[in-house]
Amino acid sequence: MDALLLARMQFAANITFHILFPTISIGMGWVLLFFRVRWLSTRHGSDKVAAQGWLDAYRFWTKVFALTFALGVVSGITMSFQFGTNWPGFMQKVGNIAGPLLGYEVLTAFFLEAGFLGVMLFGHGKVSERVHLMATCLVAFGTTLSAFWILALNSWMQTPAGHGIVDGIYHVKSWFDVVFNPSFPYRFTHMVLASGLTCAFLLAGLSAWQLLRGVAQRSAPRVLRVGLTLAGLLIPVQIVVGDMHGLNTLQHQPAKIAAVEGVWQTERGAPLLLFAIPDLETRSNRFQVKVPKLASVILTHEIDGEIKGLNEFRDRHPPPLPLFFAFRAMVGMGLLMLATSWLGWWLYRRASWRAERLPRALLGFFAAMTFSGWIATVSGWYVTEIGRQPFIVYGLIRTADVVSTVPTPAMIGVTLTLYLALYLALIVAYVSVLKYMAEKPEELLEIEELERAATPVGVATSPVLPIRGAAWTS
């Protein structure tokens, strides 16, 4: 294999692994804030079980958040290095644009979340409720801000605007146009909603699993309701935003849409292909199953709307096969999410929010959907990222022109294997630890109490041991 393909595979492996975790933590930060606020507002009330349920939920999901956050951080660090090791030409050409955007992400968002995460996770009893709530709020805000900057850059790479080119080097003419480039508002909204949905199904799925196992009785029914409600509210919005994002893509990146729809020749009244195998060799589709005119209706909102075919963009279009299937995986998952959340919410409401009245099969289905957000999110990113090929900055800079020439294919191959093995192992570990934590939440809380009692002065407040000695300078 050549160095370009290997470098792309390595980078793809890394960003695929990375996005799994921010997509949870962006939404989870806000969910934790919600749990905390719910606890604060119920703790002095008469319903002690409710208050304890929200606190249990907060504590359990904080641990999930901490683990997720750690995986996001370590894979994000890898990414910041791979920009240089894999695509040195990228920063040399567009460094004046990408640099400040990445710089602002690190300076404003990374430090904000990392700085206050410690207080949020371990600060109970060390700071006031108000300061702790503020820390939680800042962590949630930091993760979202991080998404803002990164998606500004990513969208600029898809629909570049606001720049000028002098001797092959890109310079900024208008920062507003660079950040708020044509696809940014759609992509950012789409991603934030995707994160909310991923979270919602994780909340519902793990809680359903806990209910099946008969653990976390106080928190799981509440969290299940939160998850289903959140999913039910977000999914229709996401479908509308996704449609708008698609129309925006048709306008700015028609080759991507042609690949998604498997359209080779420009046509009016294009059919929607439910299934096909787009073949790059023969430049046609095999085994196609189609619904007449529907693609034109969806994309142009006209029966005889024109969709440009891939043949109009020879040597300038992405490989259709992965796009075709990734897009269908995303949309299919979205529709399944719509059905699951609405039906689930309705049934749960009909059961008067009493989880024990829900059929076990339904809980099992929610549990099976725990990581459905991952599938939809990753498929969506494949559509948008592979769909940008063969360019790294759409229409302007080809990926092949910025790839590193230093490492040999063997070196990239070795490190790729290393990363892949590590990532697979970590995904397995992550999922199995989530499952284990979900099954043993009370036990976990007890362990935590013991840990608190055993921690030294200056690390966490000890409820048991009196603090004494001058272990500290102050």
């Binding site: 750690a70 040195p88 460094g95 200056g458």
Partner: protein, 331 residues
């Protein structure tokens, strides 16, 4: 110098400071990680708890340092990371293992806890050794010849020792009782190899690099410069003698760690003096490698606002976890 010409120098300084803060702060984290296998299970939990609230923010300084290299000196970023392709990959694997093992160990089944502890140790060691190798290669300008890899290998051995010493003195400051006593022993053990490595490197650097040789061994600069090794030597001797007294477990428990920070700062100043104005020694100056002044100004504006804020809440976080807020009620 015009303002535009000053900008790359400002960013070089900012990058240097980020890297220094990273080496000092994640240095003690990695050091604690490398000492893990010597501790009992109960002590391991305490050791982890002592770095728990900080490691994440500490690692962010590496992202900032590399980020500045990437965004302010894109030419150098490609060159440096291309040269360091394999050690960078190994360091990243190490940092990944360390970072996740940290979180997994308290959440996984008891049966798996030992595995994560071992991975925590392995990840910390791998990252430290890879960083040492990278530092060695970078300081010598990625030279080729038999002596250069040897030099890098020496630093790859010495830097982990420096981290271990940092980690041990951090534990002396942060813990008490039996663990604190062991931390003193660990610090004593790490002291000699660390100092030996430092002396070796100080002698070898001018040997492998003519540029560095000329910088240091010229009159009258050498007189002013001798303050750096002298102060380093005094600080290190003070650390060693402190480790021999029982006061180190009492009111001055913070002193060895603080003195080591001073050593790192001095070492950093010496290094900066050796290298400036190059980003990559003898190959690329800060001005050759820099992004356009327009881009740098935009980033500088952000840095001027956010760096003080970062410093502010870093101090806040360290204060919170200093036990000062201990009287507050337990949530």
């Amino acid at each position: 110098m015009t303002f535009d010409a000053t900008l790359p120098v400002v960013f070089m300084a900012l990058m240097g400071v980020s890297m220094l803060v990273y080496v000092v702060s994640d240095g003690y984290d990695l050091g604690v990680g490398m000492l893990m296998h010597r501790a009992t299970d109960a002590e391991k939990d305490v050791m982890i708890a002592s770095i728990g609230p900080f490691w994440d923010a500490n690692e962010t300084w590496l992202v900032l340092g590399v980020g500045i290299l990437l965004i302010a000196f894109p030419q150098a970023h490609g060159l440096v990371l291309g040269e360091l392709y394999l050690p960078v990959a190994l360091m990243l694997v190490g940092l990944t293992l360390r970072g996740v093992a940290f979180d997994f160990r308290v959440k996984a089944k008891d049966a798996h806890k030992n595995t994560w502890d071992r991975l925590f140790f392995a990840g910390s060691t791998l990252a430290a050794v890879a960083q040492g190798w990278m530092l060695g290669r970078y300081v010598s300008g990625f030279g080729t010849g038999w002596n250069y890899p040897l030099f890098a290998a020496a630093i790859a051995g010495a830097l982990p020792m420096a981290y271990v010493l940092m980690g041990a003195t951090w534990l002396i400051m942060k813990t008490e009782g039996e663990l604190q006593g062991r931390a003193v022993e660990w610090a004593r053990m790490a002291w000699a190899p660390m100092v030996g490595g430092l002396v070796l490197i100080s002698m070898a650097t001018p040997w492998v690099s003519a540029t560095v040789r000329q910088r240091w061994f010229a009159l009258p600069e050498i007189i002013a410069l001798s303050a750096i090794p002298l102060m380093c030597g005094v600080s290190l001797l003070a650390v060693r003698s402190l480790l021999g007294t029982r006061h180190v477990r009492g009111p001055v428990c913070w002193l060895p760690f603080t003195l080591l920070i001073l050593v790192f700062v001095l070492g950093f100043l010496g290094l900066a003096y050796s290298i400036y104005p190059y980003v990559v020694l003898d190959r690329l100056t800060v001005w050759q490698a820099a992004s356009s002044p327009e881009a740098l100004k935009v980033i500088l504006l952000g840095a001027c606002i956010s760096v003080p804020a970062i410093a502010g809440y870093t101090v806040f976080s360290y204060r919170v976890f200093r036990g000062k807020a201990a009287e507050l009620k337990y949530a």
